[in-house]
């Protein structure tokens, strides 16, 4: 178990270093930020002075070593836009993003799992058809479009929810639903197919032949086996939701990391984009590591597997 953990940890650290290198390089290939950050009427001398001040004029290799040595201790420099250290700005936005992702995931679970179970146990029923349709739509509907439609219906037309912001507890409902919808349909489809698969396993037939009633079979045998793939799916999807809420946070003016990313790219705020990308990666890699561990704890085949 320890060896398995250390193995995964080493891989994660390597991955993080790769992310750091990629983040550095990707931002540099689009051009020089000095000209863009300076006012338009600035003279070439002023732009050059700014470039020098920010160190953008040094060789790429030197900038890279400097970046890496500071990044590993969480120092990404000052945000060019806000003129304050970049990492705290990012960290400030984490609670809003986590709240959105967590509520979205809970909604996905509370809708997806029951519908998947009912559908799996009663394939072809009305609820199953509804669930399959919802699963299909959830995967197909572009979320930015759905976001606007939901705002129009539930905020503008009926006034049940605010159109934007994070002022009151119910503010989270619309963006979380949109964010969770794709995940919900994945959970629904996977729960349904796992139930269908498990239902016809030999051990279920054995349980039936022993005379166990359906409820015991469903709750003790089917559900437990459904939970294993669910755990890994939830882990992956939660990461996706933490990092993938850029559009949704922007549309709903949600004060999270995704919107900060969208804005900081527009400002070409190098330090802030780097801090965001690396911080999000750290969160995602940590969650992945935790998921791997959870999976190993739940399923001995992983733990002892070669």
């Amino acid at each position: 178990m320890l060896r398995y953990f250390l193995n995964k940890l080493a891989l994660s650290i390597l991955l993080l270093l790769g992310v750091l290198a990629l983040v550095f390089l990707m931002l540099r290939v689009t051009g020089d930020p000095a000209a863009l950050m300076m006012p338009r009427e600035a003279s070439p001398q002023e732009i050059e002075a700014f470039r020098e001040k920010m160190g953008f004029n040094r060789p790429l290799g030197v900038q890279f070593v400097d970046f890496m040595s500071k990044a590993v201790v969480g120092n990404f420099g000052n945000s060019l836009h806000y003129n304050t250290p970049a990492l705290p700005l990012v960290v400030q936005r984490l609670p809003a993003t986590v709240e959105l992702a967590a509520v979205g995931l809970l909604m996905a679970l509370f809708i997806g799992v029951p519908l998947g179970l009912v559908g799996g146990f009663n394939p072809g029923s009305l609820i199953d058809s509804f669930g399959r349709l919802l699963g299909l739509l959830g995967q197909c509907i572009p979320n930015f479009w759905l976001a606007l439609i939901l705002i129009l219906i539930f905020a503008v037309r009926y006034g049940w929810f605010p159109a934007f912001g994070r002022d009151e507890p119910k503010s989270v409902i619309l963006p979380a639903f949109v964010l969770g919808l794709a995940v919900m349909s994945q959970i629904l489809r996977m729960t349904r197919s796992t139930v269908l698969e498990v239902r016809s396993e030999d051990y279920i037939r054995t349980a039936r032949s022993k005379g166990l009633n359906s409820r015991t079979i469903y709750f003790k045998h089917v559900l437990r086996n459904v939970s294993i793939p669910l755990v890994s799916l939830i882990g992956v999807q939660f990461c996706y939701m933490l990092s993938g809420s850029v559009y949704i946070e922007t549309i709903f003016a949600w004060p999270g990391m995704g919107r900060l990313l969208q804005e900081s790219i527009g400002w070409r705020d190098f330090p802030l984009v780097q801090a965001l990308a690396v911080f999000t990666s750290v969160v995602v890699i940590t969650l992945n590591l935790a998921t791997d561990l959870a999976y190993a704890l739940l399923d001995p085949r992983i733990r002892y597997g070669k």
Binding site: Q92, F164, Y203
Partner: protein, 572 residues
């Protein structure tokens, strides 16, 4: 799936073990996530001290020693006639910004959203009114020496900052010193327009310049927002940005990053009866469709920067009023005679005239902007000094062909052009339409639409193709900065054009203090720029905004600049 056949006791033990493990994992996850987030995300000012001495009643502004600078009107008509007077500020005015301000310290504000939010906190020495005239503000009057290089400002007495500090000459000097220091300011050149700023006594300040600077007063209005010296010295720029303090109509209350900024009315404001709103809140809503929804749901009172279609969709919504006005922004296709344009057919003025005649601006405006937009007459925008003495180029493809023939390009030519992607509303389509128009007179254009960051990088290095599209805004009420920025040759970062006659006229404008003479110089320049066009002149765009019915006296200027001092909102 592993087979689950075991005795009941063993099974219970296994279940307990799993429950224990899963709980452990969840706890670890929660700890990882919660360890990262701080508890508080807002910054709050320390409680404001109320000054011991009452503010003396405000006298009517004394007449300025200098006749007001006569800039043509720049204000959009107010949304409505002022309502009957109410005692004291009332209600909460909620304004949606299209992005979060970067800073509320004026010398560090890089964009319009920051400027709009920050300006409500401060007063400059002189104020530019809605009609474009310079008026007294923290300076009651000023004298200008005969040679135009010495300004003596007589400061208003009895004004206090939001933190209770009295306003004196020391604060003016400090504002200038912090502003001209590149370590504490993004706009040092806007302060270096003055050579020295000296305190004569507590309420007199002398500003000297290197030669006449006709733009000094307007620059002081735009950038020299007076800050309290003692407070700034104590907290530094970073601390000041957390809790800014000025003498303005509104006081800073809090800034919740990513969400909103809140101000409250300054109870001791030196202009009695102002401001009209008790609370002023800025919300940051990046998506314009969401801004449209937010005004409909009455979650905000003012939304800006909508599209023409969005504005149309709000026309019939009850409780919402729309307004639109042309912005002081010029769109253009630039020619290059410094680097990539050398040796190209566009070096010939006739060819450049022909290209101006070939482009159907009105058609483009109609097709892409529902007809909203105003054909440019040149590089001086509507409402700016010297506007209106020339007519725009007519759309006349025959004349274009004739001019090309005269220039020796009867069979046309091929040339490269670039435009930025995603930088301006529908600008990619505008560029494509221009390519089509030019094709009709025989000019084949290879259009390259580039990512905007890379685009501006190349533009600053003067490496864009001989034709490239861009836009230039200005808030100063005069076209000088825009003209110099785009035509200043190698001395201006974004200029790709140099012409000795233009240089000479611009130099005269920058030194001419007399407004009437400066106006004549702008007019002469515009006539010259019609005969020798350095651009294909395009259009001035419209901007679209909407307010709730309850909002009155909201009057944005053509520069999008707006003060909320007089704006009222129905009390809750």
């Amino acid at each position: 799936m592993y087979i689950n056949i075991m005795n009941p006791n063993r099974r219970g033990e296994m279940i307990m073990k799993h429950v224990y493990k899963i709980s452990l994992i969840l706890i670890v996850l929660v700890m990882v996530l919660s360890a990262c987030g701080p508890a508080a995300t807002s910054t709050t000012v320390p409680p404001t001290e109320i000054p011991a001495s009452p503010v003396p009643p405000t006298t009517a502004p004394t007449a300025a020693v200098q006749p007001p600078t006569a800039v043509p009107p720049t204000a959009v008509p107010p949304t409505e006639v002022p309502p009957t007077e109410v005692s004291g500020p009332q209600g909460t005015l909620r304004v949606a910004l299209s992005g979060e301000p970067a800073s509320l310290y004026i010398p560090n504000t890089p964009d319009m959203n920051s400027d709009t939010a920050a300006s409500q906190l401060y007063d400059p020495l002189v104020q530019l009114d809605d009609q474009g005239n310079i008026q007294p503000s923290l300076a009651e009057s000023w004298d200008i020496s005969a040679d135009g290089t010495e300004y003596t400002f007589h400061l208003r007495k009895g004004v206090t900052f939001h933190n209770g500090d009295p306003f004196t000459a020391d604060d003016v000097v400090a504002t200038w010193e912090y502003g001209k220091n590149p370590d504490t300011s993004k706009w040092p050149d806007r302060f270096e327009i003055a050579k020295t700023v000296e305190k004569i006594d507590d309420f007199t300040v002398k500003v000297t310049t290197d030669g006449p600077k006709p733009l000094l007063l307007i620059t002081m209005w735009d950038f020299w927002s007076i800050i309290p010296k003692a407070y700034m010295d104590k907290v530094g720029v970073a601390g000041f940005e957390q809790a800014p303090v000025g003498t303005g109509p509104f006081e800073f209350v809090e800034w919740v990053k990513g969400d909103h900024i809140t101000y409250k009315a300054n109870p001791n404001y030196w202009q009695s009866g102002l401001p009209k709103a008790e609370t002023l809140t800025f919300r940051f809503i990046p998506d314009s469709a969401t801004r449209v929804a937010a005004i409909q749901t009455d979650e905000v009172d003012i939304v800006t920067r909508l599209t023409a279609e969005e504005s149309q969709s709000l026309k019939d919504v009850s409780g919402v009023k729309t307004l639109e006005y042309p912005l002081t922004r010029e769109y253009y296709i630039a020619f290059n005679n410094l680097t990539t344009g050398i040796g190209q057919p566009t070096m010939d003025a006739k060819v450049r005239q022909a290209m101006n005649y070939a482009v159907d601006i009105d058609g483009i405006l109609k097709a892409l902007f529902l007809g909203y937009g105003k054909r440019s007459t040149g590089f001086v925008a509507t409402g700016e000094l010297g506007y209106g003495n020339v007519q725009p180029f007519a759309y006349d493809p025959e004349k274009a062909k004739q001019l090309l023939k005269e220039a020796g390009y009867e069979n046309g030519f091929t040339i490269d052009m670039a435009c930025p992607a995603g930088a301006y509303s529908s600008f990619e389509e505008v560029c494509q339409a221009i390519v089509g128009n030019l094709g009709e007179v025989g000019i084949t254009v290879n259009l390259n639409i580039m990512e905007s960051g890379q685009y501006w990088d190349l533009e600053a290095k003067k490496q864009l193709p001989p034709l490239f599209g861009d836009a230039w805004a200005d808030t100063s009420g005069e076209a000088y900065n825009r003209l110099y920025g785009a035509l200043g040759g190698n001395n201006a970062a974004y200029s790709s054009w140099s012409d000795p006659k233009i240089d000479e006229l611009l130099k005269s404008i920058s030194e001419e203090v007399d407004t009437a003479k400066r106006k004549a110089l702008y007019e002469e320049l515009q006539v010259y720029m019609q005969v020798n066009p350095p651009f294909i002149y395009l259009y001035e765009p419209y901007t679209f905004e909407a307010t709730r019915d309850t909002v009155q006296n909201y009057s944005p200027r053509h520069s999008e600049f707006v003060y909320f001092t007089n704006t009222t909102v129905a009390a809750p």
